[in-house]
Symmetry: C2
Subunit: 221 residues, 2 copies
């Protein structure tokens, strides 16, 4: 049995959960708050970050390594595509979300709206939130551009880029960081993702003391 | 013919160059300074980052996507390993260098010692450099730990984790950010990498106005 060390507002954990569900792999969730730096968890992953997937013997660390492992070992529809060029485009967009969208949008939102409220008990910095808002706006324009030309983010087929995108966007949306006005293409794509039974259950989870905005789990938003 | 848009102190570009050389793939280098935000380059890669590999038709973006593409398409010794678990360990360490070592060590060094000197014409912040030094020390302790148990970083065979590590460590070393004292295991491993004809030529390159320390390209350092 796989155990996934994760927490509900970790976008990299959400990515692995969504992908595992699409692959039909059952994982038992273990709640792990990495900022507590629990000894047993640091022993498991010296980088101290979620997610970690383990069956008790094998320890898989880093969301990209975990997703590639599941892609390689679980015989089911490929989520990376069938040719090397297709896979390169999926991986380009995964890196876009894991690095660019994460650092410009998700990190400041997590820091100001989650960490300061729940852990540090301090007020958020309005300037940081405004800068994150402008970054999100630029990103949504780019996703609109792609989705006006493609059925899914990376091309005609649903894949790992959509999974990575949904993971990061859903955390930003939980933290009130997404203004959907004027982004109909991305909104329509995200509504389709929200209705997937492999993704939908995550939208029902709440972090204590930090409720999401009312539109967060609605299919019509 | 492949063209690689890169610059000499970009660790992600160095990773692709080292890997391409190991795979026997010839690439023509195009010098690209991403902070100049050249229009033609932004058109090629909307993320605005090096490296980009293109043959004129296919455009490959993001060092992980490029390395996986070359691994998939070039028939030569695998640099990721032969089993899914082995590949997961290589990818875990690649992420360690691309994210953790890069953000904690390479980014502050590039910012204080390269960007401030060559672009912003400002003095480096000693506090930031001290924090980077402490981070490097912790990383080297971990690499020593691994290399006392393994021939190469990821296991018995040379692979992509060593390539990623050499790319990031060599940039930090160029910028005077590595104190090798007391890290004999990592030093010995790095000396073996420095002597590889696929990596050695990069150590001869200089950035104008920013010379590396004297030990930088020596095999005995």
């Amino acid at each position: 049995m796989w155990h996934l060390y994760q927490h509900t507002l970790c976008p990299f954990s959400r990515k692995v959960r969504f992908l595992a569900a699409e692959k039909g792999v059952t994982v038992e969730l273990v709640r792990e708050l990495p900022w507590e730096r629990r000894d047993g968890f640091i022993e498991l992953n010296p980088a101290g970050q979620t997610p970690v997937l383990s069956d008790g013997t094998l320890v898989l660390i880093d969301s990209v390594a975990i997703c590639e492992y599941l892609e390689e070992t679980v015989e089911r529809t490929s989520l990376l595509g069938s040719g090397a060029a297709e896979r390169a485009e999926q991986r380009r967009l995964i890196a876009w979300f894991d690095q660019k969208f994460y650092s410009e949008a998700v990190v400041p939102l997590l820091s100001e709206r989650m960490f300061k409220r729940v852990v540090a008990r301090a007020a958020p910095d309005a300037g940081v939130l405004r800068a994150a808002g402008r970054a999100v706006e630029g990103h949504l324009d780019y996703f609109d551009y792609l989705l006006e030309r493609r059925r899914w983010l990376s091309g005609p087929a649903f894949g790992m880029a959509d999974i990575a995108a949904a993971a990061h966007i859903s955390v930003a949306d939980y933290l009130g960081g997404i203004d959907w006005d004027g982004h109909d293409s991305t909104r329509q794509w995200y509504s389709a993702l929200k209705s997937r039974p492999t993704f939908r259950p995550m939208l029902g989870e709440k972090m204590e003391g930090l409720p999401p905005p009312p539109h967060y789990d609605k299919l019509d938003f």
